[in-house]
């Protein structure tokens, strides 16, 4: 695949554009077209190889590691997400597959499956608190932390990519099923309404036909 294909693609939230709360309190944006791989395998058996190929080391529970543009997120005891820049994941998947041959593992491309939403700014935590039971206090959820949880009715993986001290921080990235992305987007906007985030009209206007 080449970059020319970019024009053919539509990211899950292509119909939305970045929205902001007042005074840089929070910012909601889609990060389209990231490469995403789910890697299954026993960390004891794959760690070295994965680090060799991906650069980043395998993270410990509920954490992410990064090397350059590539990040590895712990999502389960034998499950990791590898997040890469656009188009970089396919080659990485091939390399991983080869390097891990003979070891029980699975590498699955989920780049299209999951939308990535970035939520940044001082009110980001306050917004997330309205959606999830995770402890979003800055003392409890810190940079590099990863958690799968419910955000309203959507399951998603939350990753803090930038610290609260950073300019524009903290930054959280949410990976959510593309079919749920719009729901989550609208719910996040609603959560930010308090701080001036514009409301997002959800999908509507569909004509139902319920009876035959």
């Amino acid at each position: 695949m080449t970059d020319t294909h970019t024009a053919l693609r539509r990211s899950p939230l292509a119909h939305r554009s970045t929205i902001k709360a007042m005074e840089h309190a929070a910012r909601l944006s889609e990060v389209p077209f990231l490469g995403k791989l789910i890697l299954r395998g026993d960390p004891a058996k794959i760690a070295k190889t994965v680090t060799g190929v991906a650069g980043a080391s395998l993270p410990t529970a509920c954490r992410a590691t990064r090397k350059g543009d590539t990040a590895i997120l712990w999502t389960g005891p034998d499950e990791f997400w590898i997040v890469t820049p656009d188009n970089a994941h396919a080659a990485l998947a091939d390399k991983l597959g080869k390097a891990l041959s003979g070891i029980h593992h699975q590498v699955t491309d989920v780049s299209s499956y999951y939308a990535a939403i970035d939520l940044a700014g001082p009110k980001a935590r306050g917004m997330l608190m309205k959606l999830t039971t995770l402890d979003m206090d800055r003392s409890a959820f810190t940079e590099g932390e990863v958690a799968g949880s419910n955000f309203g009715a959507a399951q998603a993986t939350l990753w803090q990519t930038a610290s609260d001290e950073e300019k524009g921080g903290p930054v959280f990235r949410l990976f959510v099923r593309r079919s749920m992305a719009d729901y989550l987007w609208c719910l996040l906007a609603e959560a930010g309404f308090e701080w001036g985030m514009p409301r997002q009209a959800p999908l509507s206007g569909e004509t139902w036909r319920l009876e035959r």
Binding site: M1, T2, H5, L8, R9, R10, S11, P12, H15, F33, I38, R40, G41, H104, H105, Q106, T108, D109, V110, S111, S112, Y113, Y114, M129, K130, T132, T133, L134, D135, M136, D137, S139, A140, G152, A153, R177, R178, S179, M180, D182, Y183, C186, L187, E190, A191, F193, E194, W195, G196, A201, P202, L203, S204, G205, E206, T207, W208, R209, L210, R212
Partner: protein, 1010 residues
């Protein structure tokens, strides 16, 4: 407009510089910001605000906060924004507030319903149970009238336009209650560095400190309000502290999960409400440790005619006096059984009221109190009781008699005039949250009330909630509780030193509790209220006990005592005492009714939070959704998904659209968005073994590049899901599931891999939405695929049925499967979902020369039915085995065990007369059967019920391809009935004759059988 005759010259947490105008019961009043509706009405000398539930007797303001049982009004007359059953003691006033009396007709002051009071002797407890038992139907005839008479306020008539929110918070220490103990607890924990949430039910911190005479009491050389403000300021300055006012802790659930209800803007005029904030919030707090500083509730005295407006708890009278700057009466009579009420009397006297006397049930009164009373010139009546009151819509006086040694009253009757009767039966720790936490209560004999006994969760009580009633003790205990809580939460803390208290009042001492105060009247003439809202009198409770309802819960339910909107906050303890007395049992043995969530009523919408309307539940859509929507699609919900059901052209009926689409799928080419199907990537050396165990058929020999249909069972042998699984490599498979079953199937498979067959090397990852899928059906489908895809020859001669391959479209990789759910030549193209919309456009473009039509789920259902394919969930309902579907061919006899296998040989599952899937053809080909209709064996429906049913129609369509109606049905011994004539019943018509057939209607047509 009145001039607030009862407003004191100074004092109170009100802003006298501003005047607030409001309406109540059709009359205009004024008050000040900071007033509750109660304090403002009292400032205007209005005591009567409501009428009782049952007898419609006048009801006044009895308490000053959430404990008030009767002062309920309807707020607002806007159909969408009206709030029934609102307590005037909690509703703050704002300009333009409109309050209406409720459950009265025609008006509050003249209410026809009050006639019930005249018949009260005929409306005893349990009246309804014993009445209306005459001729049958009697009750049914009366019920609508009884229902109309019941109920208090009115529900809004239109949807609520306001917003609500729920928020999750974690903290080290949650402090419930912002009185002296709560403030010290919060301060101590906060200073130690703990994350603290302090929730105060009312509009201001301070608790009882706001109800004492500020000229008399000081803390650390500060007036009480000044001290509270200083602590509030200190707390506000710490970013580890969240202070929430107008926020009640309403529910204590498992593992220190506590619900808080915040009324964000109910105190503001609609135009002043911040547009960015919700009306109310629920805070879902998970606390490491909890401090319950919920204070105490004052107990009423139970005496004859204790229900008139103007009869008020003594503590409430003080709250109105100091917190709101309103003197609720000019001539006050105090009736008490404890010391705190004497302090109230002195206080009211110094505040400008004339205390007409103190009547105390106790004979021995502390000398200090006696001398202070003398100093104030207050006449006292120790060892005496109020035996009656007067006044129509406001108390105007009371009669007093001496208590006799035998527990009655004796001697002369003294009449005392008053316009306020302040009563106090002592203070009861507010144990509601503690009891909700499942802590055990202990009955305190000195207190004659319950207090916290043994904790179950990580909480402790402090202050008057823990029966510590002196101010100094409350402050110290609060600080200790805060330190203990923080330390147990892992943040070492030392109790803050409390301020030095000067001028503190005397606590209540030992109250003399008499369950029913004697009046010297004949029993049947005594009307002493226990529950002022539900109009429960002592007579009712005693009657209940006499009739055998001697468990406290029975007595409660029989009389409805404590079942009003206040849930008996002030009434319950008196009810327990009365029942215990009647049963001659100790109170601990009688026990309490259960303190249930919520502590006070919480708005439904606040519980729902933001998860309503647009945010109620996700609408899942595929990448091609926009195309469907703009091309006439009508949708149907399928699980969480919206799927295009048919694409209606302008002027075209739904039925015509389905015909057109289905014909295209048979005769030329049509495309279905099949992206919603569940998809699972399965990998590992044991993947085949695994598939063999989870599907009924054999998978050992499926070669890479091939695909196979599989049926999945539960261990009960019943069909659970189905789908096609493709072999990508020897150890790598791509499984598909039904749309609705995707999540369930993955969990089911993970369950076996993770907990049962842990020796198998298999990993599974969902790829449902990684792939967008266009399913092309029809004789021209291969041409469209050929046009679209590079690197593949889709010629059906070369690209075999049930095989798959990779290809590209304009360089974009795709997977192409030759599989069919329609019976026609069909291909499925899978592409990364980001390209889904583009793929669909490409398909439509490439198919145009062939007249391609998009087709929806309705045509899909029809097409598969024409071929006799089942839909799990339509043909099946959790009671259907593969054999019932007459799909024995898919159950491998040769391979080993699989999920559900053993269940297929149970005595009931091997019955041959089970319901089996068959086709049904109506004798009249134009007649379409109703899905869900039942199959019977007779041409006329027997009149006698039950009518034996042979089965039911699962699917029924008008098939343009077959040229007639077709149906499938589950029919008893169906497989053995081929060709048999049966009937399908219908309401209001003769049964429809049908012929039992095979289900593959396409084949039947080919064979000329149809």
């Amino acid at each position: 407009m009145t001039a607030q005759p009862n407003r004191r010259a100074s004092g109170g947490l009100i802003d006298r510089s501003k005047v607030v105008r409001f309406r109540f019961d059709g009359r205009d009043f004024s008050g000040h910001p900071g007033d509750t509706l109660a304090s403002a009405l009292l400032a205007n000398d209005e005591h009567m605000v409501a009428r009782g539930f049952k007898y419609h007797r006048p009801r006044g303001i009895f308490g000053a906060g959430s404990e008030d049982p009767t002062a309920l009004v309807q707020i607002g007359s806007d159909a969408a924004r009206t709030d029934p059953n609102t307590r005037v003691t909690e509703q703050e006033i704002y300009d333009g507030l409109e309050a209406l009396a409720q459950n009265v007709w025609p008006s509050l002051k003249f209410d026809v319903g009050a006639v019930n009071d005249l018949f009260s002797a005929f409306l005893p407890a349990g009246f309804y149970y014993k009445t209306f038992m005459g001729p049958l139907g009697n009750w049914m005839a009366f019920e609508p009238f009884i229902r109309k008479a019941a109920g208090l306020g009115k529900a809004p008539g239109a949807p609520d336009p306001d917003r609500y929110e729920s928020i999750n918070r974690h903290c080290d220490v949650l402090v419930a209650g912002g009185g002296p103990a709560g403030l010290m607890a919060a301060l101590t924990a906060a200073k130690a560095g703990a994350r603290v949430i302090l929730a105060e039910e009312t509009a201001a911190l301070g608790g009882r400190l706001l109800s004492v005479d500020p000229d008399k009491v000081n803390l650390g050389d500060m007036a009480p309000t000044a001290w509270v403000e200083s602590i509030a300021a200190e707390l506000a300055g710490m970013d580890n502290v969240t202070v929430l006012t107008r926020t009640a802790a309403f529910g204590y659930y498992a593992q220190n999960f506590v619900g808080l209800w915040e009324r964000v803007s109910d105190h503001l005029a609609p135009n002043d409400q911040p547009a960015n904030l919700p009306r109310q919030r629920v805070w879902r707090v998970r606390a490491r440790e909890v401090v319950l500083a919920t204070g105490a509730v004052e107990r009423p005295l139970v005496f004859h005619e204790n229900d008139r407006p103007g009869i008020m708890l003594a503590g409430a009278a003080r709250t109105f006096t100091h917190r709101y700057g309103v003197l609720p009466g000019k001539r006050v009579l105090v009736f008490a059984n404890n010391d705190s009420a004497w302090e109230a009397a002195f206080d009211l006297q110094s505040s400008g009221a004339r205390v007409a006397g103190i009547v105390d049930l106790r004979r021995d009164i502390d000398g200090g109190l006696l001398s202070t009373a003398a100093e104030h010139g207050i006449s006292i009546h120790p060892g005496a009781a109020i035996v009656g009151t007067s006044g129509a819509q406001r108390v105007s006086g009371a009669t007093v008699r001496r208590m006799s040694d035998s527990g009655g009253v004796e001697g002369p009757v003294t009449a005392i005039e008053c316009d306020l009767l302040a009563v106090s039966g002592g203070w009861m720790p507010n144990i509601a949250l503690f009891s909700q936490s499942r802590g055990k209560l202990v009955y305190d004999e000195d207190l004659s009330a319950f207090r916290p006994g043994q904790s179950w969760q990580k909480e402790r009580s402090a202050g008057s909630a823990a029966a510590t009633f002196d101010l100094d003790g409350c402050l110290k205990e609060g600080a200790r509780a805060g330190a203990d809580a923080a330390s147990k939460a892992g943040i070492p803390a030392k109790a803050e030193r409390p301020p030095k208290v000067e001028g503190a009042e005397r606590p209540q001492g030992t109250p003399r509790v008499i369950p029913e105060i004697p009046s010297g009247r004949p029993r049947h003439k005594v009307r002493a209220w226990i529950d002022l809202q539900d109009d429960v009198t002592t007579k009712d409770l005693k009657l209940a006990v006499n009739e055998g309802y001697d468990s406290i819960e029975h007595a409660k339910r029989y009389t409805t005592s404590g079942m009003g909107t206040d849930q008996g906050k002030v009434a319950n303890m008196n009810a327990f005492a009365l029942v215990a007395d009647a049963l001659k049992k100790p109170i601990w043995q009688v026990g309490t009714t259960t303190y249930r969530q919520p502590w006070k009523p919480v708005t439904f919408a606040a519980m729902a939070g933001q998860h309503v309307g647009d945010h109620f539940h996700p609408r899942r859509v595929t990448p091609m959704h926009d195309w469907h929507k703009s091309n006439g699609a009508v949708f149907e919900p399928v699980g969480d998904w919206l799927r295009a059901r048919a694409y209606q052209r302008p002027g075209e009926s739904f039925e015509a659209a389905v015909r057109r689409e289905s014909l295209a799928a048979r005769e030329s080419v049509a495309a279905l968005d099949a992206s919603t199907l569940g998809k699972i990537d399965i990998r590992g050396k044991d993947a085949r073994t695994f598939l063999n165990r989870v599907y009924t058929n054999a998978w050992s020999k499926l070669a890479p590049g091939k695909a196979r249909y599989g049926l999945m069972l539960g261990e009960d042998g019943m069909v659970m899901d189905d789908g096609v699984t493709a072999c990508l490599a020897d150890d790598h498979f791509h499984m598909t599931t039904t749309t609705g079953g995707a999540a369930r199937v993955l969990t089911h498979l993970e369950d076996y891999i993770q907990t049962e067959w842990t020796d198998l090397e298999v990993y599974m990852t969902t790829v449902t939405e990684e792939w967008a899928v266009a399913s092309l059906s029809g004789p021209d489908s291969w041409r469209v695929v050929a046009e679209l895809c590079d690197g593949i020859d889709p010629d059906p001669e070369k690209f075999e049925f049930m095989s798959h391959t990779t290809a590209t479209i304009d360089g974009v990789p795709v997977r192409v499967f030759r599989i069919s759910f329609t019976g026609a030549l069909a291909y499925e193209i899978n592409i990364a979902a980001d390209y889904g919309a583009w793929l669909w456009d490409k398909v439509m473009e490439a198919g145009q020369p062939y007249g391609i039509q998009p087709y929806g789920t309705e045509a899909m259902h029809l097409l598969r039915a024409e071929k006799g394919f089942v839909i799990v969930g339509q043909e099946t309902d959790g009671t259907v085995t593969p054999a019932d579907l007459r799909m024995d061919w898919i159950v491998s006899k040769a391979k080993g065990d699989f999920i559900g296998k053993r269940s297929l040989s149970r005595s009931d599952t091997v019955r041959t007369d089970r319901k089996q899937l068959v086709g049904l053809l109506t004798e009249d080909p134009t007649l379409m059967l109703e899905e869900g209709a039942h199959v019977i064996a007779t041409a006329t429906e027997p009149a006698e019920k039950p009518v034996p049913m042979l089965g039911h129609v699962t699917s029924s369509y008008d098939s343009p391809t077959i040229g007639r109606s077709i149906a499938m049905a589950m029919v008893e011994s169906g497989g053995a009935r081929m060709g048999e004539r049966l009937w399908v019943s219908r309401k209001g018509g003769t049964p429809i004759p049908v012929k039992v057939t095979e289900t593959d209607f396409l084949k039947m047509r080919e064979d000329g059988d149809v």
